[in-house]
């Protein structure tokens, strides 16, 4: 009895304490990413690698046209907005810009508090996790995501996306999501899990670079960096530091405004963990 009550009280105090401090735990890791938009060529390799790694279903033309596609990592293409005095039609002479857009793993994620069953939450690794089998499909999280990177299984895709023998290619480290479930980029959490296991077996900490996300691993220009922000030696930590971008700020205090690092929708104070480096333009 006493332990039950104790559990409840402890749980409650953890809960309120967590809420006061941003709703999160003591982080063990803080996985984050850096994407150099000047190196990104928009070639789609990352996106296809993601399909292969994470059992993403292809939906076909009709559903894609209905905007029900399941691409966790989508490459958006924009043309620059015209400079003052420049004709709109001429902006293509500076080329296009590509934006790889996937779950930004916000530290103050708008999706997390609204999930009625806590199927999406923040892990001690600093990831925004989605527990598929807990999801009941209220889709509130997707509505509240400013990046529109949460994808809902509007249909069962098993038979159309993986006709036999294609199901043999499915990654057994990830479940195949059924209809009615929300899914999104996990920063390849199965690779994190495997690396943690190896590190534990060898009795050491996870090394920087030991975990590579599928998109990072395949990126032909190496535009993507992934690693632990809490590890001060990690390349990602160095890059964030070099670009003077800090977590937990909605306006960065840069001593050098010419640094390229920025986060998308920083002003919403969602505290994303993907640092984008600005595209460079020859003027």
């Amino acid at each position: 009895m006493s332990s039950l009550l104790g559990n409840i009280f402890k749980g409650w105090s953890d809960y309120t304490k967590g809420n006061e401090e941003g709703g999160h735990h003591d982080y063990e890791h803080m996985y984050a990413m850096v994407i150099d938009l000047d190196m990104c060529t928009g070639c789609n390799a990352c996106s296809t690698a993601c399909y292969a790694e994470n059992n993403l279903a292809t939906v076909g033309e009709e559903y894609f046209g209905a905007r029900q596609a399941m691409h966790w990592m989508r490459i958006e293409r924009y043309f620059d907005e015209p400079n003052v005095g420049e004709a709109e039609a001429d902006t293509q002479s500076r080329g296009a810009s590509f934006l790889p857009m996937m779950c930004q793993h916000c530290n103050a994620a708008p999706c997390e508090p609204v999930c009625p069953v806590a199927a999406t939450y923040h892990t001690p690794d600093g990831l925004n996790a989605q527990i598929y089998n807990r999801c009941i499909g209220s889709r509130y999280c997707a509505n509240n995501c400013p990046f529109r990177v949460r994808y809902f299984n509007f249909y069962d895709h098993q038979e159309t996306a993986w006709p036999a023998p294609m199901e043999q290619q499915l990654n057994p480290d990830i479940s195949v999501r059924s209809k009615g479930v929300m899914e999104k980029c996990t920063f390849c959490i199965q690779r994190t899990r495997a690396a943690r296991n190896t590190a534990k077996n060898e009795g050491r900490a996870i090394r920087d670079g030991e975990i590579q996300t599928a998109c990072q691993q395949t990126c032909p220009t190496s535009a993507i960096l992934f690693g632990d922000l809490l590890d001060e030696t990690s390349a990602v930590h160095q890059a964030w530091k070099r670009h003077q971008v800090q977590l937990g700020k909605y306006a960065q205090n840069k001593t050098n405004p010419e640094l390229r690092g920025y986060r998308i929708f920083e002003e919403l104070n969602v505290d994303t963990k993907v640092l984008y480096l600005e595209r460079v333009r020859e003027v």
């Binding site: 150099d36 000047d38 399909y51 076909g60 043309f79 002479s93 294609m166 333009r281």
Partner: protein, 713 residues
């Protein structure tokens, strides 16, 4: 994975362990329900190798055959199934990276539309019957081979087979090729495949060479591009009629009228001479060609403004060393080579290529010239029998070549293919080929590898379908029955390859062989090449047709020339530029659209001298107003469940408009007429906007600032 004692069927059956095979049950199951005991089956191994552990993935090295670049791969194998491909970090070609086509090799392998048994006239047959028929019909006379790019020991066996059967010819067909560049290299510098150093160049001018997309070895170039973009940042200039992936990443994208890149290049050369005082010693022909093309003329011919031309010339001079590459036409490629000489890039960013000493293994690079020649020879009845593998002439041939009639004129046709396509339908015998992930082979990268390095292709899993055979095995069988000397000693291609590789690495030791398997590549003697002094070739620009609307067919990384169309991943991966999926479209400039009164999604009929196709328009500004760009790859009629969508623009390319000084079919020269076809349906795209609406999504920074801050701060 050397030959194991494991029974093949059981090796495949070991799925239940680890819940792998049952992943499909997904998470539909309420977790309050405990799974019933005894509902699933587990097959245990009989006698597994020690390293085979259920639930643990093992990585095997192999080679990617999705395009002629031959990147090294690592495949993750678990429970006997290959699950994921990654680049082989040891390979100098791709340095651990892969493009989307490489990733999608899995889908080519697990494709539900694979051919599983030999077919004779469309009816399933046994291998013995099929081979007997082949022996009967294709043992003498003019037996030809048609392949894509082929290299390594497959090429050796193929050549041997050809030699043994008589006077046949080997047609290597690649619609997407670098023939213009290689020919120009051979003519001007004496080296068909010089090494490019993008990472050392401070400026790159590309004349229609989509080096980030499909040109020669895109992953190599993208790897170099990453370094090229680091500080001090290189400047990329692209001249082309319709924006390619390279154009989209260029700092200066210059829209030239279709087929006029050579004129632009001449204009740049003119400015370099007159404005910047560069000269070409000992090349009077070239000098006069440059001098005769003034910027004003370029503006008239190519529609490129003098300001843009000046900017190109200024950049090339101020950012030295630079690099000029071209693939638009033979003329443009030659001029590019000469520009490199003039700019002093030779020896700095353009060095002699590296290859292997064993010439029979060197890649036989494909071209569309071979396609045309095949059509002519076949139609003329000069070919008695043909083996087709890795090429789809019935799909890529323009209507003008009348490939259907040409194939009909060939008495006996054998297709060696993994999937049905338009060509296998026309063949008498179809031999089921193992997929690239089930097969043995050696491949010499056409470009980008370390000198003397041969990539090894090893099976990543047991054949998915028991009755398929590898290309090497088929060639060996054919060679044996054709009486090629020395093949009888080998039971299968694996044995042949192992012997051959052992000879090349000079070691018969088991351990050395395993090291080769592990690395996925081995080094052999490299041939050193050198440039000859610049040949003073004739430079010129042939004004085929510079006015009017031109059809521009381009290949995009993804469906490529159409060979990857039956991959749902690649069909659903939005086209890099238009962001369209699952269907064809015709890119036209807003001005053109306005003059023709077309809206986005309107269906139009594109008519050339060779035929007509109907597709919908996509209006955007990344295309020259004189060009109608239709990416190739779609429009299959018999290529599996995912491929039969869109239209095939290659069919209406005017085949008789050969490139200047070559008979390559050029993709930009056909005049086209656009008629509205009435219907309008929204083109399915990833996004319907080009604009960021003031959201700071892709932010930009001027290059000067980048130069100041990249070092640190």
């Amino acid at each position: 994975m050397s030959k194991t004692k494991i029974n093949r069927r059981n090796f495949l059956k070991v799925l239940g362990l680890g819940g792998a095979g049952a992943a499909l049950a997904g998470c539909d199951m309420p977790s309050t329900v405990t799974l019933e005991e005894g509902e699933e089956k587990i097959y245990s191994y009989l006698a597994p190798e020690e390293y085979v552990i259920p639930g643990v993935g093992v990585w095997y090295a192999s080679t990617c055959l999705q395009c002629p670049a031959a990147c090294g791969t690592h495949g993750r194998v678990r429970e006997g199934r290959v699950l994921k491909l990654e680049g082989n970090p040891d390979s100098a070609v791709n340095a651990g990276k892969l493009c989307q086509m490489g990733q999608a090799a899995l889908q080519a392998h697990f494709n539900p539309d694979r051919i599983t048994a030999p077919l004779i006239n469309g009816q399933p047959a046994s291998w013995d019957d099929a081979l007997a028929l082949i022996n009967e019909k294709a043992s003498g006379g003019n037996v030809a081979w048609m392949t894509g790019t082929v290299s390594g020991h497959q090429r050796v066996l193929l050549d041997a087979h050809l030699a043994a059967t008589g006077k046949g010819h080997h047609y290597a067909v690649e619609t997407v090729n670098a023939r213009a560049w290689t020919d120009a290299g051979k003519t001007v510098l004496g080296d068909a495949m010089p090494t490019l150093h993008l990472d050392k160049a401070k400026a790159v001018l590309s004349l229609g060479a989509d080096l980030l997309g499909t040109w020669i070895s895109p992953v190599t170039f993208m790897g170099q591009y990453g370094k090229f973009r680091a500080a001090p940042r290189g400047v990329l200039i692209m001249v082309e009629p319709a924006m390619s992936l390279t154009g989209a990443n260029a700092d200066q994208w210059v829209a030239a009228k279709p087929g006029t890149e050579a004129a632009v290049a001449l204009g740049v050369g003119h400015l370099l001479m007159t404005k910047h005082g560069l000269s070409l010693n000992g090349m009077p022909n070239a000098t006069s060609a440059f001098q005769s093309m003034t910027p004003a003329q370029v503006h008239e011919i190519a529609g490129v403004s003098e300001a843009a031309l000046n900017k190109i010339a200024d950049t090339l001079v101020s950012h030295s060393p630079s690099l000029v590459i071209a693939n638009a036409s033979h003329a443009a490629a030659r001029i590019a080579m000469v520009l490199n000489i003039m700019l002093g890039n030779v020896g700095k960013t353009l060095t002699p290529g590296a290859s292997i000493a064993a010439d029979p293994l060197a890649p036989m690079m494909g071209s569309s010239k071979d396609l045309a020649e095949f059509a002519q020879n076949a139609a003329a009845g000069k070919i008695d029998a043909v083996f087709i593998s890795g090429a789809n002439p019935a799909f890529v041939a323009p209507q003008g070549l009348d490939m259907a009639a040409a194939l009909k004129a060939v008495g006996f046709k054998v297709a060696i293919a993994t999937c049905h396509d338009e060509t296998t339908k026309a063949c008498d015998v179809v031999l089921p080929l193992s997929s690239a992930l089930e097969d043995w082979g050696t491949h010499v990268p056409a470009y980008g590898g370390k000198p003397g390095v041969v990539h090894l292709q090893q099976p990543l899993m047991e054949p998915l379908h028991a009755d398929t055979r590898g290309l090497g095995d088929i060639l060996l069988t054919l060679g044996k029955s054709a009486g090629v000397d020395g093949l009888d000693a080998f039971e299968d291609y694996y044995g042949y390859l192992r012997t051959a590789v052992s000879a090349m690495i000079g070691s018969e030791l088991e351990g050395d062989w395993h090291r080769v398997l592990q690395a996925g590549q081995f080094e052999t003697r490299a041939a050193s090449r050198a440039f000859s002094a610049g040949h003073d070739v004739a430079l010129g620009f042939s004004e085929t047709a510079v006015s009017g609307l031109h059809l521009v067919t381009v290949a995009r990384q993804g469906l490529y020339d159409g060979r990857h169309a039956n991959s749902s991943w690649l069909q659903e991966a939005p086209d890099q530029i238009s962001k369209a999926v699952w269907d064809s479209w015709a890119e036209i400039h807003p001005k053109t659209a306005a003059s023709l009164n077309l809206k986005d999604g309107d269906y139009v009929r594109l008519t050339t001298a060779s035929g007509a196709i109907t597709t919908r328009v996509f209006i955007y500004k990344g295309v020259h107003p004189n060009a109608v760009c239709v990416p190739m790859g779609r429009g299959h009629t018999d290529y599996g469940r995912w491929a039969n969508n869109g239209v095939n623009p290659l069919t209406i390319v005017d085949a008789h408009l050969g490139d200047w000084q070559s008979s390559e079919i050029i993709a930009t020269a056909s005049l086209v007429k656009i008629d509205a076809a009435g219907e309008n349906r929204h083109l399915v795209r990833l996004m319907d906007t080009d604009q960021q609406y003031g959201r700071k999504l892709v932010a930009t920074i001027p290059a000067q600032q980048f130069g100041r801050t990249q070092g640190g701060a």
